[in-house]
Amino acid sequence: MGYIEFHGVTKRYANGYEALRDVSVEFAAGSMTFLTGHSGAGKSTFLRLLLRMEDATRGQILVNGVNVTQLKSSRLPYYRRHIGAVFQDHHLLAGRSVFDNVATPLRVIGMPEKDIGRRVRAALTRVGLLAKERLLPLHLSTGEQQRVGIARAVVNRPNILLADEPTGNLDPDLSRDIMSLFEQFNQIGTTVIVASHDRELIQSSGRRIIELAAGRVVADSGPGQVAEVTMPTSPSMDSLAQEAAGG
């Protein structure tokens, strides 16, 4: 059984367009996987469904045994706290400093400010931006902004890290740096799924690659490397599982 499982997942929009068609795929805990395919293949929809930013039209998505497609909306925030998300356009808050941007997930969970400071600085150190914590995102390069987005995604130590075209605007050197960061987080047990159409970068990684075309899985290179870790089940994920089981 995988840590993340898609079972016959279809996403059809109101205009009839099917972004995903009967997709069934599993991801092991601690794995790192690339989703690839042309623009419109369904990569972003795949990630959005996993994050429950959208609802699947049909099928089931299980995360650690929890059917997230049936999670009540009141429980969704707690589910999302276990997922870090990185986007091509960063989704940074322009009026907030680098520090405040990265601190956002920690403030949401009500962490004391002194702990927030420690955790944010650790995350910024990891992405090499500690010296720029007081700057606004506007004053950073595109690559640096992406790294702020990554720091924000991982600062809460999520079980799952999703990245949607994280190197889309970056030159090859910066892209490799970003990928290197994802690999570092994967090595400490985070399950990482990266959607990217940069085939060269993906193929050089030696990781599992799932190719989507017109909403279907058309190629899957297999399990690939999996970090040798055991995924913990945090108390809140336990309660989500109990709730999904009707407990």
């Binding site: 930013m53 999302r80 808050l93 997930p105 969970i109 009500g110 400010e113 702990d115 600062v155």
Partner: protein
Amino acid sequence: MARGSEDPFPIALERGPRSWARDHLRVLREALHYVSERFSASLLVWLLVGIALALPAGLYLLEKNLVDMSAAWDGRPGLSVYMNLEVQSEAVENLATRLRSESGVATVVTTLPDQALEEFQTHTGLGDALDMLSGNPLPASIRVTLDADASPADLDRIAASIADQSDIHEVVVEKTWLARVRDISSVVSRLSLVLAILFGVGAVLVTASSVRLAIEARLEELRVQKLVGATNAQIRRPFLYFGAIYGAGGALVALMLISTTLLVIETPLVSLFSSYGSDLELIGFDPAFLLVVLLVGTLLGVCGAVLSAGQRVFELEIH
């Protein structure tokens, strides 16, 4: 193996009342910062809410003082009983005793014909003219004053209870001005209620639209918060504080407007009251009134914020 021992981010998911209180404190700080950053726009909202609150609150004070004045002035509700000329003083005293036993009666004062004549001579200076008359033309009378909270119906009841007395020439019920004051205070009371509702709705709408603007200005931030796991309550929270700040600030403005108005009208009011031989003593503008206005303003502000933020946050999509 548990998750990487080299992981720089230890698990510390916070829950419980301390975390909740900490979040409220942080959000309040941020809300105050947001409002102070947009001081001129906030001032406009405070003025609008303040004016909306000042009118009904001011009318409430007016009504309270009218009721107080009607109770305190000598013109307290009462009636005068004029006896027939030939009535003996014993009959007058008997009737006075009977009137004293009626409920709602505060004082009963009898004036016998000789006393009435003496007072007339003293106050009018027409003593010489009266000396020319063969007898005393003034009747005995009884002045009855009712309790301050007596109603015009009480006056009618007491007057009716002695109507069958053959010794009585006339009963004059002095309720005209009392009824007017009561009618005025009733009008003011109802007017202040209607205005309180109308202007209260106005204050709610002003706050709601201001909060709506704040929400629209922070949509991207709200989406990010939703993305990283903020609950709807957490997303709504800053806006409830905005509403409370707008409402409380508006209430302060209202109190300033009322106190300024009182200062402005104090001099002519003192002059008016002294002309009636009374000292001006405005009541109602006390700490309890200030607290109630503040609480009502804050509550209306929060209502506006709930109205605006509730639906918008619920609808909010992450893009």
